[in-house]
């Protein structure tokens, strides 16, 4: 199969994005047209890129080509291999959903916001992501990386009239720049070894690095990518930035932008950097565990719907890192097969999380769009006015909680299996860490389930808690289509996993020289098996079927019962308490109370209750209750740092105190010192 079709469609897609960017910028005076250009071009570009990705994956063999750039120093060289194809596929799936969704979503911008500029940034983001995934040269990679960050900054700060957005945007871009700094140093290290900025040349160069420099390179890259991925403790920008962006953008940010960090780690650690130090994998694993558990714990305390979702991104990145860390460990320990399974677990979870997190953010966007609030405490009962959104959100919630038979379950299952296998594969006491990590993964999953029970129930079920949600309306059709597409994807990837898995074969072969999927699929291609050492099996299709078969008779039973003995709607019994009203419903805060108490060590919750009464404190007329948790990292880590920098700088300012004599004295002293330095032979 010739390389032409892939390259052609890929370039065409890129061209479409670029054209879209310019066109929507050009049409910023005509909102309606700008809207159509923005979404239409994005849809077209995404479709093309998706096609390119599919072709590329089918083709298998990596394609490299290099375009001379206008800058004599560097050439733009791309490489379209399995990994790039996979991430581009993920991007395309999301981009399609988001651009369809945006048709409806952007309508409300008309006349109020500059859709043209929005479209420009939107396309720029998509373009840069595509480039990041396909760049085969550090320079191009960094350009794509930073341009993406800048575009994302523009989009995060898009509602820049609100202080919140401005601050969040700045926090985001500053952290992003810090990670670029790390990457620059890392790449410089490799380039110095190889003498060229091409990724292809790194592999050989990294082999010659001294162990110290190798560790340094690993640390630098890990820092850089970890910041981008929002791994704890570098996460603080994430829950700040993702919620304030327009929801369709939040979906992309949480869905794919943070995954560039994962892509980078995979690309550099498994491909370019050749061998990583033996402790590296362990570090990644542990960081992953911490991120997963803390991420979900913080998510539980949120009652801002979008912030809650943002924290879940941190959690899922943690889960992905568990798989990746395991893969690194196995690779160093010389178990390519296990490494393959672990890598597949990580990659598959990346894809899955991208899909359902995007779906959930779009759902949240729809809710925000119709109620105008992000505060769950004011929502409720939305399942009646917006049934479709509610259904999509529910599917997303089940998927992200890792419950069978949807896709989230499969990737978590694979992660479990590879962790368990690790116990047998690695010697020494470190092996204990694998099952422990597994149990932490279990904790994470269960907490996530709890969190999404809260998120879904408080948002969509029971009685409306605020006027906005009382007169909410279903989202426009295009938005629903966008969500529906992802809902389908969740179900398809869950039930049809065994048909999808072969996609990963090329990746594992390229990165680990090992095809794995053959070991993973048994039972007439319907059953997923953990392959080698631990022979666990699972079949999501089977589970779904079984559930269906078992529920049907029960349904019949109930139906007959209902036909004979009737069923009627009545008021809530509520232990006989009359007149249920929204005020005495369970709230999000109340729901998470138990966990807040249990993990109070971590949260350090503060609460403040003021009761207003006239006769006796036991019969208060009104009670004002407020409770907040302090976010450890901001208070203990970042605030002091910033404090220090500012204070130091202010102290430095006395240097420039305006006295010319002081200024001359600086020069004089320097001169004398240098003269002394100069005379000593």
């Amino acid at each position: 199969m010739s390389t032409l079709p892939v390259g052609a469609t890929f370039v065409l897609g890129i061209a479409t994005y670029s054209a879209g960017a310019c066109a929507s910028l050009a049409s910023w005076r005509r909102p309606a047209i700008a809207r159509y250009i923005c979404c239409g071009a994005a849809l077209a570009g995404a479709a093309l890129e998706g096609l390119a990705a599919v072709l590329g994956i089918l083709q298998g063999t990596p394609i490299r080509w290099s375009v001379p750039s206008g800058i004599p120093l560097f050439a733009y060289s791309f490489s379209y291999d399995a990994l790039a194809g996979f991430f581009n596929l993920t991007l395309a799936i999301l981009a399609i959903a988001v651009s369809i969704y945006s048709f409806g979503y952007l309508k409300e911008f008309e006349g109020r916001r500059n859709i043209g500029f929005f479209g420009f940034l939107f396309h720029l983001l998509l373009l840069s992501l595509t480039i990041v995934f396909t760049a085969a040269n550090a320079f191009l990679f960094l350009i794509g990386w930073e341009v993406g960050a800048l575009a994302a900054y523009g989009l995060v700060a898009f509602y820049h009239e609100q202080r919140e957005s401005r601050q969040a945007g700045l926090l985001y871009i500053v952290m992003a720049h810090a990670d670029v700094g790390c990457l620059l140093l890392g790449f410089a290290l490799l380039i110095q070894g190889s003498g060229s900025a091409e990724f292809a040349s790194f592999h050989a160069a990294a082999a010659q690095l001294s162990s110290g420099r190798q560790s340094a390179a690993f640390v630098l890259f890990f820092l850089g990518f970890a910041i981008k991925a929002g791994v704890i403790p570098f996460h603080i920008w994430l829950p700040a930035a993702h919620p304030v962006a327009p929801s369709n953008i939040s979906a992309l940010l949480s869905g794919i932008v943070i995954k560039t960090g994962i892509y980078g780690m995979t690309r550099i650690f498994l491909d370019s950097l050749g061998g990583v130090p033996s402790w590296a994998g362990l570090a990644v694993l542990i960081v992953g565990v911490v991120s997963a558990v803390l991420g979900v714990l913080y998510a539980l305390m949120e009652h801002d719907l979008k912030r809650l979702l943002a924290y879940h991104s941190i959690e899922n990145i943690g889960i992905i890192l568990m798989g990746l860390g395991a893969a690194l460990i196995f690779r160093v320990a010389g178990h390519p097969l296990l490494a393959g399974v672990a890598l597949i677990a990580a990659m598959f979870h990346t894809l899955n999380h991208a899909i359902f997190k995007c779906l959930l953010f779009l759902g949240a966007g729809a809710v925000l769009h119709s109620t105008g609030t992000r505060n769950m405490e004011e929502m409720g009962g939305l399942i009646r006015p917006m049934p479709v959104t509610a259904f999509c959100f529910l599917i997303g919630a089940v998927a992200i909680s890792g419950l069978p038979p949807l896709n989230g379950f499969v990737s978590e299952w694979l992660t479990y299996q590879s962790l368990l296998a690790g116990f047998g594969a690695v010697g020494g006491l470190t092996r204990i860490l694998f099952p422990l990590a597994g149990s932490m993964l279990a904790l994470t999953g269960a907490l996530a389930a709890a969190c999404f029970v809260k998120a879904f129930a408080i948002t969509f079920l029971a009685l409306p808690r605020g006027a906005e949600s009382r007169n909410a309306h279903e989202a426009p059709r295009t938005m629903l289509i966008g969500m529906g597409w992802l809902t389908l994807a969740c179900a398809a990837l869950g039930l049809g996993v065994t048909w999808f898995l072969p996609v990963f074969d090329a990746i594992t072969e390229q990165l680990l020289g090992q095809r794995v999927v053959a070991h993973l699929v048994t039972g007439h291609g319907l059953v997923l098996s953990a392959g080698m050492r631990t022979s666990g099996t699972v079949s999501t299709a089977g589970i779904a079927l079984g559930l269906l078969v078992l529920v049907l008779p029960a349904a019949l039973l109930v139906a007959t019962g209902v036909r004979r003995f009737g069923r009627k709607r009545g008021p809530v019994w509520d232990c006989g308490l009359p007149g249920l009203s929204a005020e005495n419903e369970y709230t999000a805060t109340a729901f998470s109370k138990a966990l807040r108490m249990i993990f109070s060590v971590l949260y350090k919750p503060r609460r403040e209750i003021q009761a207003v009464f006239d006769v006796s404190p036991y019969f208060p007329k009104e009670i004002h209750f407020e409770s907040e948790i302090d976010s450890m990292f901001e208070k203990r880590l970042y605030a002091p740092l910033q404090e220090f920098i500012v204070r130091f700088s202010s102290r430095m300012r006395t240097i420039q105190a305006g006295s010319i004599h002081a200024y001359l004295a600086y020069i004089f002293v320097t001169l004398v010192l240098l003269l002394l330095f100069g005379v000593r032979k």
């Binding site: 240097i655 420039q656 004599h661 004295a665 004089f668 003269l675 002394l676 005379v679």
Partner: protein, 228 residues
């Protein structure tokens, strides 16, 4: 019968004058009256001119005569006149207390002279025993000392005018170095430099004048509006 120029003798004379110049410089550090420090500067410049002439005479470097003349004309004649006029215009005659008190300043000046010799030491080439080398070694020390002390004066003095004087005496150091080390720079350069010095002094003069009339004090340590 013609007088036979003898380099040895020349060097003696030059070294002597250089020493004198240095003494004047140190004296200027202790000086309180603006006018008299201007005069000191004038004498110093005159001596430099003389040194230049001597070098020119003993080494048949005729183009240095021009430098000598220029020096005497500009630095010993024109500039001091201008400055004194300025002093009258602004009407401030006495230097206020410098940042570092006089005895200490003089001590520091001595230290700087020492530094000058240390530095000059580093290019002494025992193997090369020509007259020029020896001369260079001595006068360079003086030149560096002049430079440093002039600089120190700028750091130390508060009046705008005395800072200008410091700058000028510092340039005298350069001139000494130039003529004694290399028997002068190429002529074009010399002229360019003199021209620049002239313009510089004018510019500074204008500034001093403006400052004098805007702030009705020439204490530049009071200029501290612009700061962080």
């Amino acid at each position: 019968m013609p007088f036979v120029p003898n380099p040895e003798l020349g060097n003696r004379i030059i070294t002597l004058m250089a020493a004198l110049v240095l003494v004047l410089q140190i004296a200027a550090v202790g000086q309180r009256w603006i006018v008299s420090s201007i005069r000191i500067f004038a004498v110093q410049s005159f001596l430099l001119g003389a040194i230049a002439a001597v070098i020119a005479y003993f080494n048949h470097a005729s183009h240095i005569y021009i430098a000598a003349l220029l020096t005497v004309f500009l630095k010993a004649g024109l500039l001091p006149r201008l400055l004194e006029r300025l002093v009258e215009r602004v009407g401030i005659r006495r230097e206020i207390e410098p940042l570092i008190n006089v005895p200490l300043s003089i001590l520091i000046a001595g230290g700087l002279t020492l530094l000058g010799y240390v530095v000059a030491e580093s290019f002494h080439h025992p193997e090369e025993t020509s007259a020029r080398a020896a001369l260079g070694h001595n006068t360079l020390a003086v030149a560096i000392a002049l430079f440093l002390i002039g600089f120190f004066a700028m750091v130390n003095r508060r009046k705008a005018l005395t800072q200008v004087l410091g700058l000028l005496s510092l340039e005298n150091g350069l001139f000494l170095a130039a003529i004694s080390l290399t028997y002068g720079m190429p002529l074009v350069v010399e002229i360019g430099i003199f021209f620049d010095v002239l313009v510089a002094v004018m510019v500074l003069g204008i500034l001093v004048f403006r400052i004098g009339e805007t702030f009705d004090s020439m204490d530049v340590s009071k200029l501290r509006k612009l700061r962080e």
